[in-house]
Subunit: 364 residues, 2 copies
């Protein structure tokens, strides 16, 4: 009955999480209320909130001196909220553009200050690699450097933490947060929309080094002022309560998968299976540099683009959905986030092989 | 098993809505996916989104020339987003403060321009009435006048639409939107957080006259720029998809209640029952002017405050929860939004009568 859903986000959630959410919809834990109906200030939801926060800190090993905030507005919202909070006096920030998302972040930031490109990785208009950090043009007095550590559309992922010296490092981790262990202490701000690896759209996670708080522009809306949100433990305004509850269930599920080290092994296995098959195939190709191929978002192309529609139709008939690539890139894309089981990738590779064999027969 | 939940928000939802959501959690309409897992650009969610939007327009009778936007950030977010979008050149706005929420809106707006109080209705620090519109000090060249048409904390509701002449009228309707028919054409902007009468926290409804679009401050974040959001049909960034789905189910439920005219009759019946009992009682009192007593939020006090704890304890034992008044006002508050059935108010009044009788016996 359930399909394998390769959507880039909002994306598949663990089935056990959805089953628990359905079972508790009308009555959470004997409270006689569903979670959606609870006052955010009541003891039931305060407990759910605190537990989700604790689990997230624990999973990521968030060190002391960092605050974890539950916010709204998504990754695109943060594209404005980050500069509104961090640019400070000289209003300088440098952007590392390695794909569509970091490019959007750069463009939005332009209106807030003295914003420069540290590097634009485009080659013939396509993003398929990450120039070495030594080649980035960084200003020593920049308020921060922005990177997007996984480009959802282009399938480009950072497997190193850039050393930016004393310049604070801001990372948009929306599409691979919690997919593997992360050295939080090497970043000054991490943000991510929840709708890929965490839970429902409408929740944004922000992890910020405390020293970065209190630099907001006077026009920054209070609900998006990190210092205000931190001071009120993410309860300055009504938080997206149901999304936080679902995120908490996903965090528990992640713990049961062996935490981030455990899920990383599963993600490596899934990505290896898919990339190895693509590389060995005569019909499919992935064009991203091998050193930075995303484990979460695998864009690939059929060498004969005329077969795209037939490929998608056959996939859908086998319960493999949302495989069409982003319109700006074309081709196909399989997003294989934490919640995608190995069986889903096996089914995809099985179908890809079947489709390739069929084409070979047609050609003969 | 289910309690009667008098929370001021997030608040009770219709049981039939929750049942449907639970049933569809793993598989919406044979799609093999839950709504939370759907790409916001896929045909399944696009359909859910369009249907919710159409139902809302239909329920409220939103005229041509108005856009309905699904946003994030809640009512407190709008306190900044509205001035960022509407203040325009001279940056003047006048605020009608009739309670805690409009006071918060006023304070947040102060940082965005030349903001003035048109009136502050406080009497000895308490908000219990609405001064006649003829007494408001409005500037003819103000970009807008802000009112909060239902004060959730104070229990003060507008039962008239103020005539502000040519000055655009902005209304925060968070806590009574969809509780009765509304003459949308008399307003230039209406906003409301969803978590009282519409659905889960994390969704904000904005209804805006098209002429008001395009006046945003250069520093307004793109995701909160009404013109940008309108241009992209509320899909500029990933919308809070699950909250929109639940809102759509609530809209359908409202249609089945006879639309806004139908639900208004039910809301009048509930509020009348509760206020009539309070007014006739020797133990309880409501202090709001009769002409503007809220049908949604009914604050009341026990004449002997020493009985508060015993009252709340007995209520909870009978499955009547979330009756404690807001800390800034004290006493009790029963929020009786659309989803609260008459049976819930009957149960509350029954308990209040029982408790009062008990006190009389103790006194004898």
């Amino acid at each position: 009955m359930r399909v394998f859903n390769f959507s880039a986000g909002p994306a598949a959630l663990p089935e056990s999480v959805l089953r628990q959410a359905a079972a508790e919809m009308l009555d959470w834990n004997g409270s006689g209320m569903g979670v959606m109906e609870m006052s955010h200030r009541g003891p039931e939801f305060m407990g759910i909130h605190a537990e989700a926060l604790g689990l997230l800190r624990d999973l990521l090993g968030v060190p002391d001196g960092y605050r974890v905030l539950f916010m709204q507005g998504g990754g695109l919202g943060e594209n404005a909220i980050v500069p509104l909070n961090l640019l400070g006096g000289n209003k300088k920030a440098d952007f590392v553009v390695t794909g569509s998302w970091s490019k959007k972040s750069y463009k939005e930031a332009l209106k807030y200050g003295d914003i420069r490109l540290a590097v634009d990785a485009a080659r013939d208009g396509l993003y398929q690699g990450i120039p070495p950090a030594a080649d980035w043009k960084l200003r020593a007095d920049a308020a921060y450097v922005h990177v997007c550590t996984n480009e959802t559309i282009d399938g480009v992922e950072f497997f190193f933490v850039p050393d930016t010296g004393t310049i604070p490092l801001v990372a948009d981790m929306s599409s691979h947060i919690l997919s593997r262990p992360t050295e939080v202490a090497k970043y000054d701000l991490i943000f991510g929309g929840a709708q890929k690896n965490i839970g429902p759209a409408g929740l944004t996670i922000v992890i910020i080094r405390e020293e970065m708080l209190g630099r907001a522009h006077p026009l920054c809306p209070s609900v998006f002022n990190y210092a205000t949100v931190a001071e009120h433990d993410s309860m300055y305004n009504t938080p997206p309560t149901y999304a936080i509850y679902i995120a908490g269930l996903v965090f528990k599920w992640l713990k049961a998968q062996g935490g981030l080290a455990g899920i990383e092994q599963k993600n490596i296995a899934k990505a290896t299976l898919l990339y190895d098959y693509i590389d060995a195939s005569g019909l499919y190709e992935n064009r991203v540099d091998r050193a930075c191929r995303s484990r979460m978002n695998v864009p690939f192309f059929l060498r004969d683009e005329a077969l795209n529609e037939a490929f998608l139709k056959g996939a859908k008939a086998r319960g493999l959905v949302q495989l069409k690539g982003h319109r700006s890139v074309g081709g196909m894309r399989a997003s294989i986030y934490n919640a995608m089981p190995l069986a889903g990738v096996e089914a995809l590779v099985g179908y890809m092989r079947e489709f390739e064999t069929l084409q070979e027969k047609v050609a003969v």
